[in-house]
Every structure is written in C-alpha cells, then in structure tokens.
C-alpha cells in the first residue's frame, strides 16, 4: 500500500511547498509512490489518516500549538521542511525585538487583537523525525529525504559547514571579496548555492552541529570585521538557535 502523505503550513511563505510543485515531471513519479491525502495549497480533499506529515513554517502563536500536536498524533513520521519549520528561520528576526512594539509597528492601536509570540521551529513544540533544511528547500534534497523515508531509513544529516561545498565549487571566498559570510558556521547541503550566484551565505540552513566559532572569530579578525558584524548576520536565520545556546 502506498504511504499516505499530508502537507501542512504555519507561519511562512509557502515557498517550500512551491518547490514540491516545482518538481514538475518528478512530481508525477513521486505521486506514483505516495498517496497525498492533504495538501491545502493544491487540493480540496482532506483526510486525517496519514503516515508522513510534511510541515512548513514556524510556530508563532499559542493557538497553532494544538494543530501541531494533532498532526504529531496523527502521523507516524513528522518532517520539518524549510528554515522556518526546521530552525525558526527568518521569522525569528522578530525575536530580538520587543513583541508588543513589533505588533504596534504593524497593526497600530489594533495590536491587541492579534495573538503572537517569539517565532520558533516546530521541534520546540513536538518531536520531529527528519528535517529538510534551506530557504527555500532544495528539490533534490527533498526527494532524497522522501526516498529514505519510503525505504524505511532515517535520512542522514550533513554535519559540515557550507565552506566545504563552496571550496569544492572553487568560489572566491566572500571574505576575500570584502563581504561578510556565515558559511563557516552554517550547515551545508545547499551546494553553496548563494555564493555560486555571486553573493554570500546568509545562514538559512542554520548552525552546523558544533560550529567552530573560534576559527570563525579568527577569520573575522583576519579580515578586520567585528563580532558585531557577525552577530548582525547571525540574527537573520539563527535567532531561535542563538537563544537556545
């Protein structure tokens, strides 16, 4: 029997589910292997009996916790897809700010109407079995995780930083170009895609396990950068992870 699969979204841009739609012809192949029972963004039908739940987006308010817990109860396997679900993501930028002030900035005197708390990854609420990192997720990476799960294996997690892939791709180091990059402490698996396109690593896949911060500080000193520069860039995606350390 084909495993039943469901997709859910919380606070996020739905860009990760879009990457799944973007599988194009591969999507047809995938649909031959699984039965999609819930995917609000593309289908009207919905069912609560599923084996694998893919969850996109951060949890940003109390009322979303019950929905997450119900998903956990219904599913055998829960997979966090994308930075917001996996690490808190760009939403956690607001965690550095006074939340009441943030609400006021956007909704003015009506701020009290809207409930919200610090943005967090879904594993802050429920246990998560597998992660697909990235903002957005990489289609190949997603397929790899799905294949592993279909084979009953736990997908392996990359434990080295983006620099490894970046070197292999023979990019000129962003620091050499006078830019600040968080590749040295960020989990790889993206094939250093942003640096390949001429920019920097922004840290969307979150801290690598055991980041070598001392070495990173040496890099900062070597290039005349300050810890403030580093902290500023860390805030983009690492907000929740930083607070937890």
């Amino acid at each position: 029997m084909k495993p039943k699969v469901a997709f859910f979204d919380f606070a996020g841009c739905e860009g990760d589910q879009l990457q799944i739609a973007n599988l194009e012809e591969d999507l047809l192949t995938l649909l031959g292997q699984i039965e999609v029972v819930s995917f609000r963004e593309v289908m009207k039908e919905h069912a609560d009996n599923y084996d694998i739940a893919f969850v996109e987006g951060s949890c940003t308010r109390l009322q979303d916790e019950d929905r997450l817990k119900q998903i956990r109860k219904n599913a055998k396997v829960v997979v966090a897809i994308g930075s917001c679900a996996a690490i808190g993501g760009i939403n956690s930028l607001r965690n550095y700010k006074d939340l009441e002030g943030v609400k006021k900035t956007v909704y003015g005197e009506n701020a009290k109407l809207f409930d919200s708390y610090a943005a967090r990854p879904i594993d802050a609420i429920i246990p998560v079995d597998a992660y697909v990192y990235g903002c957005p997720i990489d289609r190949e990476d997603f397929l790899h995780v799905v294949k592993s799960l279909l084979l009953g294996k736990k997908p392996e997690t990359i434990t080295y930083p983006v620099c490894v892939e970046c070197k292999k791709n023979e990019n000129i180091c962003a620091f050499e170009r006078g830019q600040f990059c968080v590749g040295p402490v960020t989990r790889a698996g993206c094939d250093s895609c942003c640096v390949n396109e001429g920019t920097i690593c922004w840290g969307c896949r979150g801290f690598v396990d055991n980041p070598n911060e001392n070495s990173h500080k040496e890099v900062l000193i070597k290039y005349g950068l300050t810890v403030d520069d580093a902290i500023g860039k860390f805030k983009l995606y690492f907000g929740w992870q930083e607070a937890k350390r």
């Binding site: 919380f10 606070a11 996020g12 841009c13 739905e14 860009g15 990760d16 589910q17 879009l18 990457q19 739609a21 973007n22 194009e24 012809e25 047809l28 649909l31 999609v36 995917f39 609000r40 963004e41 593309v42 289908m43 009207k44 039908e45 919905h46 987006g57 940003t60 308010r61 979303d64 993501g89 760009i90 939403n91 930028l93 607001r94 700010k97 002030g101 943030v102 609400k103 900035t105 956007v106 909704y107 009506n110 109407l113 809207f114 919200s116 903002c135 957005p136 000129i172 962003a174 170009r177 830019q179 895609c193 942003c194 390949n196 396109e197 001429g198 920019t199 922004w202 500023g232 983009l236």
Partner: protein
Amino acid sequence: MKNRNLDVAVHHVTRVEGHGNIYVNVQKGVIEKCEWSIPEAPRFFEAMVEGRSWNELHHITSRICGICSIGHALASLKATEAALGITISEQDLKLRKLALHGENLQSHILHLGFLVLPDLMGVGSVIPLASTNLPEVKTVLKLHRLANEMSTLICGRTTHPQRLIPGGFSKIPAMRELVELRKKLKESISSITTVAELFKSLAGKLPDFKRETEFIALTNPNEYALYDGVIASSDTGSAPAREYLAYTNEFVVPKSTAKWAKHVRESYMVGALARVNINYKRLSPMALETAEAFNLLPMCYNPFMNSIAQLVEVVQSVEDSIRLINELEAAGLQSQPEYNKPEIKVKAGQGVGAVEVPRGILFHDYTYNAKGVCTKANCIIPTNQNHANIELDMKALLPQILEKSEKEIELTLEMLVRAYDPCISCSTHAVKVNFAR
C-alpha cells in the same frame, strides 16, 4: 428560496496560497452574514526589517512570499535604490523585466493549471487529472518548467532569488543562454495555444457575474506596465508611485490578520484583470488576440475573468520576453565582473518601489538613516488590496446563487476567491469559507 436557511463555514479555503475563511449565514432567505476573513499567522515583516542594513532588505522581504519572491525582491530593490539615489543600467533594467516575466509566467501557469482548472473540470485537485488528462497536465507542467528555468537563468533560482542586488545583478546570464531561452519561449507558444483552447472549451463554466468596481494598476505609455509605471485608477486618473498612500488607505479589520484597503469606493481590485482593463491598448499582438478570443474587453467587471486575464498575460509575457532578448542581443550583452558588487554610496533617504507582481500592484516603502540602516518600512501587498473587493463580490454574488445547493454555493464562492489568486502569506505579511446554517 424565501425560507432558505444556510450556514456555511469554509475554514481554510483550499488551492490558494495561505489561509482564508468564508462564512455565510442565511436565515429565512435573508443574508445575515457573508464574510471573508484571514486567520493566517501574522509575520511582522515591517518591524523585522527595522534596524537592518540596505543590502539585506531585498533578501529579507523576498521571504514575505514564496510564489512572488522575485516581485518582492524587485519592489524592495526599487525602494532601496530610490532612497539611496542608485540608478541601474539599461541592460540590468531589461534583465529585471525578464525576471518579472519569468515569475508572472510561473505564477499564472500554476494558478491556471493547478488551482483553477480542477474547478472547471469538476475535480478536487490536479492529481486526478494526471490520470484522466495526462497530455494537458504535461503541457501545463512543461510551461511551468520553462517559466522556472527562465527565473533560474536570470535570478539564480526560482524562489528567493540571489542575483538581484541593489544596483544591478551579482551575476548575469550569457547571451547564448538567453538565445536558448528565446528559442524555448518561441516553441512554448504552441503549448500555450493548447492550454488556451482547453480553457476556451471550459469558459462556459465561469460564472456570468459582474459588479462594477474600481481597478488600480501601474500604467506606462511605452509598454504594458509591469516593472515601471505610474499608478492608474479606472476612476480617478494617475499619480506617481510615491503617492501610493493616497490610493491604498490600508485599515485594520479585526477579523483578519491581513490589512484591507480602499480608494474612492468601498473597495478596488488589483491583478491581471485590473492590468488588462487599464492597459488593454498596450497588449502585444498575440495577447490581444487571446483576449478577443475570450471576449475579454475593457472594462470587464467579472472577477472570474481574472483567470482569463492571467492567460492573456502569459501570452503577453512570452512575447515581451522575446522582444527583450532581441533588444539585449541587438545592443550586445555587456559582461560584468564575477561576484559583481556595484559601488554604492550610502545616505539617508526615503524611497518607494512599485511593481506589478502576479496578483497586482505591490509597494515597498523604506526610510534609511545616514548609515543605510532601515528605520521605517511599509509593504502594501496586492492581496490585501483585494480583500474588501472579494467580500463585496461575495455579498453581491450570494443573492444570485441562493437557489443552488449548499455544495454549489460553497464551490461558487470558493471559485470566486480562487479567481483572485489570493496570496495570503503575503497579505499577512488570507482564504477559508465558513457557511453558517
């Protein structure tokens, strides 16, 4: 139907981007409630970018929406460039226009093929169509892939673009790659014709409904405006983009985490239909033929025709992209340094960026201090500008369909919402139908 009681609640309307609800309550044939609300979790982007640097804002705000991330990045860059007094080259301008076409193609094809087509074919999603109508589904997928290839070629990837940076591009495609793209675009016309014929055969299923409203879109005397133009209203004339606040007048509605907007009437509409209505004369020849084939003529007040307007724009974007590549080829593509980083002098300032994205006119407005740190931001998203219009359409449509079954009423209202192609993650920086019985 005088004694009809109806209580319909559609929680989280499907096949739209984000979460929205429809509530309908009819007591003895009298409509007590007909409401559109947005429960999407708010995301507070305007507050999140405060304190961030000018060279990060496009990266952060592209995350407002996965589907229109290129449009958000471009509106953001235009705002930053206006604030800091940065100009971009003619070549970069053309490449940015190509980027926008790539996204419009991708988004419109996704909406038409994956989200609207199932309603017209009487199924719940595109998945069963993969068995019953495989050739058509494959044609849609092929077009969608081409649009994505185009975005990848220009922007580095399809979602959350990397190459678009203040002052231009970090990396640009090679001319031979653009020539290859042009070849594929030309070849895609036969696929688009296939899709257009399919929609033509199903057009009778689009409800024949109209409600007069105001349309707002960018307009430009030289081209069908997407990247550049002034704000035009079908009611009041035009004004430069920096005067956007006089048009949008956003207000908070307690039932919705997304803000709503109105101009001279109780609501206005933005998006493909607004653009086609306002800029009909600037449509490219084949796009115009497509519009005529569907009898889409200005002013068209049927919101369900927004999907057809998107189809017209698919043709428009393909033709205009071919033109842009021809022009880039004729001028000779200028190379730029690897890891290009334009020299930018930071200064204090305020700037507005307005761009037509798949769902309508989008505004970003930033204020920077002398260090180039953002001190204030405002983003006005197309779907927010449509919420009031959606609800008023629902209120006008419901009495006309009250004799139908509850299931049909629900479907028709959902189809109305879907026609707007709402992008709710965007708008909260919202769709769901709740019938109350």
